[in-house]
Amino acid sequence: MDSASLSRRTLLHAIAAAMATAALPFGWADIAQAVQDMRSAAPAGGSTLTFLSAADAADVEAIAAQIIPSDDSPGAREAGVVYFIDRALATFFTQLGADYRAQLTAFQQAFRERHPSAASFAAAASDQQIAYLNIVDRTPFFNTTRVLTLLGMFTRPTYGGNRDGVGWKLIGFEDAHVFQPPFGYYDRDYPGFVVDQLHSK
């Protein structure tokens, strides 16, 4: 199993645990509908928070910004990842909410115990943040935050993250419906396939 599966499993484990207690199963198609509803109610690109408090959002954004830092090119912060995460927890990952909030609180508390002088994770110096994340980057909370961050960085901007397509620009992905060959550098001057006569029957 690759690390992605591990992360995803962790992420959704919490969702399903919450869902198991729901009276009616809530399918992904219904979740997608909820996203649609959410989209029309609150257009992507806003900076209002629905699920996270301002302080919690600052910490989640600080973690996301260490996962994909802002340097000479935009990172998770510029992509609006925290607003994607907030919206996800309020809509299509709503059942994850309670567990995620509890894990976040535990993360914050453990950080304060280690760094009593820091006002919050978000307020700590970057190297202090990195050192701490290196300790906890195998935890379910970090893995969940990582997957949510990457979903917010690279999925369609209509879901609230990947603002102005900064995620796609970062990695050089072009969202188009039709392409023509040549597609890249190496297929430009391809002479055509020649059957290897020596080895063919």
């Binding site: 499993r9 992904w28 994909i68 830092p69 299509f92 990582r146 999925t155 050089g172 992905f173 890249g184």
Partner: protein, 550 residues
């Protein structure tokens, strides 16, 4: 398109359960054979305009597949353990819509080789496994492979591979345009003395049978084609079945039980409609094409006093011998842009390591291909061995996206009785039916084969001039989209579930045809073979029906 509808009180000739790669083909063959058919599909019916480039919806929210909430499954790697609820993606992942997994497959359409059908005789037994020959040979299936290529639509180049089994016709369409990954793979492989060839794909390289040629949008793997260039049963055989006026496809119809009478014959299929009302469709015979997960489940759910261990299960093999194949990878980063996110996944393949080689010290073989990785989000989430997964170094790696490609590996899975589909004793789905419980652990030979093939893949990328080569982790699998072997075919009712015409040994008017019929796993890319089996089954079952032998 709607057209013909049947009343439930009416006894149709056939109920076909499932409208995917196999069900669509069987339905068309029966309807064209003059028989009346009702197809029950548990998922909805989409039209092309419903399909989008949307990774969140189709990879992470189950847009066109079974989902872990309504159709929960449990998984364990050992029969002595309690199986755990799978909460992110199903252990057994399949298309849940008219068209089934033929909507979202990658459309790699190589044929199995002759050795796949008689490997047990050639190599001898393998202790502790259900390794066996098929009751049919490659020669038996060849006409139907050709039928798939011409009637479903496959692009490729006949005669390119020295390893290809004999064929009676060329491909109906030339190969798709090569991508940079294909050029590099071909270059590296030839340097090593290997034999790369243009990939056979069930994607139109030009307009074919009224369907568009590929527009190279790049969203094949895990997505449904927006222009219909990728051949799904939704856009090929299903409309053709409906055109006969003898076939009704009923979406949102979730089969829950096959009923039998006192003679031990199937009388029809109970199902839930979209409002979760229980319905029953009477039929002279039933063909289950519900995939390697749902077909055994439906048989196990159809247990009765006459069939206490499940329908058609006198052998005890319904649900057993589950096989996944294994997809490994090496990733190469090159100096210039490849832009692999454009166009089809695969344009070059290689079968030099297809056969098992006793000199390696373990059983197994496989095919390699040159391909893009997944689209951006999944590419970013996935991490190769020893790669950073966050921070500045990770961000630098993300920027390698357009300069990266994969050499992917596809390989054998041995049939093990301990790998299986059963009914979970506790968990129910949203309809109150027993959930699927999966038990699976790759055989050590299967994992050794993946490591061997990944090393070969890495060598090819290196020979092609990659600046950097990494490999994916190799570990026992916990989920798959290849659902094979769970109602295997064979001549002996004690060691198989269906005969060589897909008729169940125990119930004369019950047929099973899909990935569950496979006796061995092949080397990945099973849909081509599943559809060849379906064309063959459909033809024979129609003959049986016309002569009253159902």
């Amino acid at each position: 398109m709607t057209g013909q509808t049947f009343k439930e009180s009416e006894t149709v000739d056939f109920v076909v359960v499932g409208s995917g790669a196999a069900g669509g083909v069987v339905a068309r063959e029966l309807a064209r054979g003059g028989l009346t058919v009702v197809v029950l599909e548990q998922g909805p019916r989409f039209s092309l305009r419903n399909f989008r480039h949307d990774e969140l919806q189709d990879w992470y929210l189950g847009g066109i597949t079974n989902d872990v909430v309504k159709n929960p499954q449990t998984f364990r790697d050992d029969e002595t353990k309690k199986a755990e609820l799978q909460t992110f993606k199903p252990a057994l992942w399949y298309g849940r819509a008219v068209g089934g997994a033929s909507l979202h497959y990658t459309a790699n359409f190589w044929r199995f080789h002759a050795i796949d059908f008689n490997e047990r005789s050639v190599l001898g037994p393998i202790a502790g496994t259900g390794f066996a020959d098929w009751p049919i040979s490659y020669a038996d299936l060849e006409p139907y492979y050709t039928k798939v290529e011409w009637e479903i639509g496959v692009s490729g180049l006949a005669g390119a591979s020295p390893f290809d089994p004999p064929r009676t016709r060329p491909y109906p369409m030339p190969p798709l345009p090569v991508k940079s990954s294909g050029v590099l793979f071909e270059r590296g492989a030839r340097k090593l003395g290997l034999h790369p060839i243009p990939a056979p794909m069930a994607i139109n390289s030009q307009t074919y049978n009224g369907r568009s040629g590929c527009v190279h949008c790049g969203f094949c793997h895990g997505f449904a084609c927006e222009v219909g260039a990728k051949a799904s049963t939704l856009t090929t055989v299903i409309p053709e079945a409906e055109k006969t006026g003898r076939c009704e496809v009923r979406p949102d119809s979730y089969a829950s039980r096959i009923d039998t009478n006192t003679d031990g014959r199937a009388t029809g299929v109970a199902y839930f409609d979209r409002d979760r009302r229980e319905r029953f469709q009477r039929a002279r015979a039933v063909v289950v094409c519900a995939n390697g997960a749902e077909t055994p489940r439906l048989l196990l759910m159809s247990a009765s006093s006459r069939f206490p261990h499940g329908l058609a299960n006198s052998s005890g093999l319904v649900g057993k011998y589950l096989m996944f194949n294994y997809s490994g990878r090496a990733t190469g980063v090159f100096e210039h842009e490849l832009n692999e996110y454009k166009s089809v996944q695969v344009t070059r393949i290689l079968h030099d390591f297809y056969d098992s080689d006793p000199k390696r010290g373990y059983y197994g073989g496989g095919g390699l291909d040159a391909r893009m990785g997944p689209q951006p989000t999944t590419w970013a989430i996935r991490t190769d061995i020893d790669q950073p997964s966050w921070g500045s170094a990770y961000k630098a790696r993300l920027k390698e996206f357009p300069r990266s490609m994969q050499a992917a590996t596809h390989s054998t899975s041995l049939a093990l009785a301990s790998n299986n589909v059963t009914l979970d004793p506790e968990l129910k789905d949203a309809w109150g039916l027993p959930a699927i419980r999966v038990t699976y652990k790759d055989h050590p030979d299967d994992l050794a084969t993946v490591r061997f093939l990944q090393d070969r893949a890495a060598e090819i990328l290196d020979a092609a001039g990659a600046l950097k080569v990494t490999q994916g982790p190799v570990a026992p699998q916990t989920s798959s989209v290849h659902l094979l072997g769970t109602c295997r075919m064979g001549n002996d009712p004690a060691t198989s579930v269906v005969d060589k015409y897909h008729r169940s040994h125990d119930v004369p008017n019950l047929f099973l045809c899909d990935g569950s019929s496979l006796v061995t796993s092949g080397r990945g890319q099973p849909t081509m073979t599943i559809q060849a089996l379906a064309f063959r089954a459909g033809e024979h079952i129609a003959q049986f029906a016309r002569r009253g032998d159902i």
